[in-house]
């Protein structure tokens, strides 16, 4: 708590000459208490509401109130501001209230949602959302994103997707799923495929693969046609492609003459540019949100640590100094933090964030298995990562302060290498 006390006893107007003044700063952030009233109408409404509840819970933005505590009778009170008894929702601690009414029209499910501001007894948002029955989860994701934007003026990420690597009998395969882990679709079928990265506009993925039998090199897969083509083949190996925010370049690591460095390539192909040239290993590039700098890992000082450099390779700065094995940097969309995994004195990898300006490191995970490969949600409010805390390695999400860990995948053989996709195109 930053505290400053001022006794304003001297100057000022005559009326308030002696009024003391204090400053209070350092507010704590609290999840917003929200009530999701049981939906009326078709039973599909309950399924949609369950998805919405899971979205809100995972986001960390909202604290879902227990329906068993509700005092209002949803069937009797209706769904308009004039008929709702807001005092009953205030009494259970609700600051926001969601009402829904569902109906089915053929194979299409339609849900009318209303969002209310309980303290002000007013309606904030209303809309009808429809989708084929098979895709009714999207109804919840779309309304959820609208609620997030209504409150925060920032985009929600419930409609985004996550790419990751699935362990299979036939090696490691790249999978794309909704950000809550549902609807996984495998986009590669053979060999060992690693480190998926979203290409601009989310239409394709780049990944590292051993598929051509000549070491690991970079490939891309079109998510519509599933067509795979080579992206980069150079030296002993090329791996870990990451695309610049403006979508016109990508950085990757490649090994030539037993020296691994970061390289830069135009997305349309052309002349490659070597960004690092140290005698150590330089890998795992991650772009800053403004595209002016790159974070990367280098062991040039004796142990793997996080560094940043300008996008032309100049102005190299070491960012981490604690620990002796820091890797997998991921620059936050807001630009202030770099998440990474680091090995502690117990030789366990955990997640950390380092403030780019101050260099202060904060730990996000601890005493819960191995935690690796962080990737930020595009709005910067969540991080997806892989963890062994529930047994096999699975994907989890966590807030940037280390709270609200939620499991995303439940792959029988395990999941890793998550890459959170971009916001959906409008």
């Amino acid at each position: 708590m930053k505290r400053l006390l001022l006794l304003a006893l001297a100057a000022g107007t005559a009326a308030h000459a002696q009024r003391p003044t204090i400053d209070i700063s350092g507010a704590r952030v609290q999840a917003y208490p929200i009530a999701l009233a049981p939906p009326s109408g078709a039973p599909e409404g309950a399924d949609v509401m369950d998805v919405l509840a899971a979205d809100f819970d995972r986001s960390g933005l909202f604290r879902l109130l227990d329906p068993r505590s509700f005092l209002a009778d949803p069937a009797k009170e209706g769904s308009s501001a004039s008929t709702i008894d807001f005092s009953k929702w205030t009494a259970v601690g609700a600051q926001a209230l969601v009402k829904a009414a569902a109906r089915v029209d053929g194979e299409v499910v339609k849900v009318e949602f209303r969002l209310f501001d309980v303290p002000h007894a007013s309606e904030l948002l209303r809309g009808e959302y429809s989708a084929p029955r098979a895709a009714l989860r999207q109804i919840a994701h779309r309304f959820g994103d609208d609620v997030v934007r209504s409150f925060t003026q920032e985009p929600g990420v419930f409609q985004t997707r996550i790419a990751y690597v699935r362990e299979t009998e036939n090696g490691k395969q790249v999978v794309v799923a909704d950000s809550d882990g549902y609807g996984p679709q495998q986009v590669t079928s053979a060999s060992i495929n690693l480190l998926p990265a979203w290409m601009p506009k989310g239409r394709a993925l780049a990944f590292t693969s051993f598929r051509d039998g000549a070491g690991a090199h970079l490939f891309q897969v079109d998510l519509g046609s599933r067509a795979v083509q080579q992206l980069v083949k150079m030296g002993d190996f090329a791996t870990g492609a990451v695309f610049s925010p403006d979508g016109i370049r990508f950085a990757f690591s490649a090994s030539q003459a037993e020296n691994t460095d970061i390289w830069l390539s135009p997305i349309e192909g052309g002349i490659l540019r070597r960004l690092t040239d140290s005698r150590g290993i330089d890998i795992s590039a991650s772009w800053s949100p403004d595209g002016k700098r790159l974070a990367f890992v280098s062991d040039r000082a004796g142990s793997p640590q996080i560094y940043t450099m300008a996008s032309d390779g100049s102005d190299v700065r070491r960012i981490t100094f604690q620990g002796n094995y820091n890797q997998e940097p991921a620059w936050s969309p807001k630009g202030d933090l770099i998440a990474f995994s680091g090995r502690d004195e117990h030789r366990v990898f955990d997640l950390y964030v380092v403030n780019v300006q101050t260099g202060k490191v904060a730990r996000l995970t601890q005493n819960e298995g191995t935690n690796e490969k962080p990737s930020w949600a595009p709005n910067g409010r969540q991080i997806v990562f892989s963890s062994t805390r529930s047994g096999k390695k699975q994907l989890w999400t966590i807030l940037p302060d280390g709270s609200n860990a939620r499991q995303v995948t439940n792959e029988p053989r395990g999941a890793s290498d998550a890459a959170w996709g971009p916001l959906p195109r409008k």
């Binding site: 006390l5 304003a8 009024r19 003044t21 209070i24 507010a27 609290q30 999840a31 604690q322």
Partner: protein, 243 residues
């Protein structure tokens, strides 16, 4: 030609030169230095020990029980600070059912420390005011405290209790959460109740303003000391809420 007389060489600076007497230049220099040191010891403290124009309160933090961590190691996860005392942070008009009263439990070291500190503060506050109480040359005619520290005691407690309830909803965008501020004047009754609050400068964000009002409603303040009771009841206490 007469033979030249041998010249006497005086090797020690402290040694007397019979041509200029016993007080040689070395001794004169030593005396001068001693005088300078004595003068400096007398005058320098007066020149340097000027009163500070503004004295900021010193905030003490209890250090957690544990061993110092090697700064070369990765940090441990930061833990939430202990919650504020329940008596001070409980809603003033709580409709929530209270939990059943259980058997008395043994106090933790932290609770014992807090009680001891609160007791010390209470004893100090309850002392009868001295009719010839001391003040400051730069103080106000309406001032009630002998020193800045004493005047801050009650307001510091007010600040702590309101801060315990100063919660900003997560749905407020970070951009607004980090930059918006608001000012509220509260009027405190003799029993410590907030009898009125006036938002003199809203933040511009209804969620933040609402959270501030909620924080004030949830806060129970201690009764003000007698010498401050009239001031905080009639003139109020201005609170600047900052990010």
């Amino acid at each position: 030609m007469t033979e030249a007389q041998p010249q006497t060489v005086y090797r020690s600076l402290l040694g007397g030169d019979p041509r200029i007497g016993w007080l040689g230049p070395g001794l004169a220099l030593a005396i001068a230095l001693h005088v300078a040191v004595v003068a400096a010891a007398f005058f320098l403290p007066r020149l340097l020990d000027r009163p500070h124009p503004l004295r900021k309160p010193v905030i003490a933090h209890l250090v957690a029980l544990g061993k110092p961590r090697d700064p070369r190691l990765m940090p441990r996860k930061e833990t939430e600070p202990p919650a504020a005392a329940s008596s001070s942070s409980a809603p003033a008009t709580s409709g929530a059912p209270s939990s059943a009263k259980g058997p008395p439990r043994q106090l933790t070291r932290q609770e014992m420390m807090e009680r001891a500190l609160a007791g010390a503060a209470r004893r100090t506050r309850d002392e009868k005011p001295d009719p010839e109480r001391a003040g400051q040359e730069t103080g106000s005619p309406g001032g009630t405290a002998a020193s800045v520290e004493e005047g801050e005691k009650y307001f510091g407690e007010v600040e702590d209790r309101i801060h315990a309830n100063y919660l900003v909803p997560s749905v407020v965008s970070e951009r607004e959460r980090l930059y918006l501020s608001a000012t509220v004047v509260i009027y405190i009754g003799r029993d410590g109740s907030i009898v009125k609050h006036v938002m003199t400068k809203p933040s511009g964000n209804s969620f933040i303003d609402q959270a501030l009002v909620l924080a004030l409603q949830r806060t129970r303040l201690p009764a003000p000391p007698a010498e401050l009771a009239k001031l905080v009841r009639d003139e109020g206490l201005e609170i600047n809420f900052k990010p």
